[in-house]
Symmetry: C2
DNA sequence: ACAACTGTACTACCAGAATAACACAGTTCT
DNA sequence: AGAACTGTGTTATTCTGGTAGTACAGTTGT
């Protein structure tokens, strides 16, 4: 069963996209195994205190991308080939880091300064 | 006059927030000088192909934060003390990097791997 | 068979983001 | 004074995200 304990809801981005990203990150990192069970729409929505429709939207879009399998009445499961995982990992890291680097450069931070800060934050948040 | 040539409109976040962030980043980096002139609402909205009301919202909120001065009929200017700039720089870098580090850790990237990628992207986007 | 789950679908409603089209008043420059 | 800008305010409309509630059909376990 996929664990959503580490899920942090942030502002400025739709919740259904955050749920999708959380699952994709787990797949890319390998913390979510192929064929692992997904919480039901109702259970996850209650845990995250969001509307069932919001979770349903995330699951439906993931299914359209071929990362989730659902059958009416039965539980839902993730499914991802090795190739899909690798593609996700590349895509997610690249996208996020590229945007971040653009912002850091605009803020006048050098690569060295950025790396130093990141190193500190890596240690800081290791609790 | 503040240059918006480097402005990149992305999805998932309101445009007025992106405009605000762009100006804040410039202030934090020092690429925007104190007292520098802002493009008029109409001119900037035309350049970004968005609605004048969207730009107005960004400018109005920035004025409420004390970073912009506007007088009816006259041009608008940015204003920021040394303290405000420093606070912005800390706030913007911290916030962005903290979220990024959380995601990278969740993706299973070590600090070293993240730094290596960032170094590469820094070189890559230096055109 | 029955109860308790599951996914799926639908309608209605509300808030915010963004667009569109104005109107009005103050400033600046010639 | 007049033209051309400027900021400001208003109203209406559209779209999306999210909530709320309900209904129905398939699956599972007892």
């Amino acid at each position: 069963m996929i664990d959503f304990a580490g899920f942090v809801q942030t502002e400025g981005q739709p919740i259904y996209l955050q749920i999708m990203r959380y699952i994709k990150q787990g797949l890319a990192a390998g913390t979510i195994a192929d064929g692992e069970e997904l919480s039901s729409r109702r259970a996850l929505s209650a845990f995250l205190t969001v509307n069932p429709n919001t979770v349903q939207k995330a699951y439906r879009l993931l299914e359209e991308e071929g990362l989730v399998q659902s059958h009416a009445g039965a539980k839902s499961f993730v499914c991802a080939t090795r190739e899909q995982r690798d593609a996700l990992r590349r895509e997610l890291t690249e996208n996020e880091l590229r945007g971040m680097v653009r912002d850091m450069k605009r803020m006048g931070l050098t690569a060295a300064e950025a790396m130093s800060l990141i190193g500190k934050l890596y240690e800081e948040e290791s609790e």
